[in-house]
Amino acid sequence: MNIGILLKEGPYNHQASDTAYKFAEAAIAMGHKVDAVFLYNDGVTNVTRLMDPPQDDRHIARRWGELSKNHGVEVLACIAASKRRGISDEVLVEGSGITGLGTLTDIVIRNDRLVIFGD
């Protein structure tokens, strides 16, 4: 099964980001393809490399970047939503990118499922 994920909330403040990650991990472990994680609304703030959580906490941006590198998952923030919230190439974590809503449309077209996490 090919899966696209839409993530609509930012990291730490809402569990949505954690649930999306755990879901993606489980799907990959079961042999499914997680094609892309598209970030919308406050979700775009998942990929700022400037986040610096406490040492004993998860680093959410880096975790998305590694998921991308290790499993070929595209991690993409919507450009319009990003501009409103101060997410730009300047702060993107390695493994993530910025794109338009047309890409989300393509993600819907080329995958069997769109699974959405928000709050």
Binding site: N41, G102, L104, T105, I109, L114
Partner: protein, 123 residues
Amino acid sequence: MADDNIRKIMHVMRRAPHGTIYTYEGLEMILIMAAYEQDISVVFIGDGVYALKKGQDTTGIGIKGFAKTFMALDGYDVEKLYVDRVSLEERGLTEGDLLVDVEVMDASEIGRLMTEQDAVIHH
């Protein structure tokens, strides 16, 4: 599927406008997906019906209004606008309070349409 690049995508407006950005950014998503010629429907459930309320004037709160964009959906060939009957009624609203022509439907019928979609996106 009739066309390999057309998907049935339902957008579900669930929030009141202005208190959060979800309705507005949902509308931006709808316009792009419509430009990509997807088979779009838009459903208004719960406080989502307030997005269509006539007479919204956002001057005072300093946020750009977008109610009129719903009136422009037609021009993007987004013509399937459905409103949940119970949501409308329990808010003391009627079709006459709404900015655009919609089809008022029972939840069971909307639920059936949901099962036919390739994707359902709540805003």
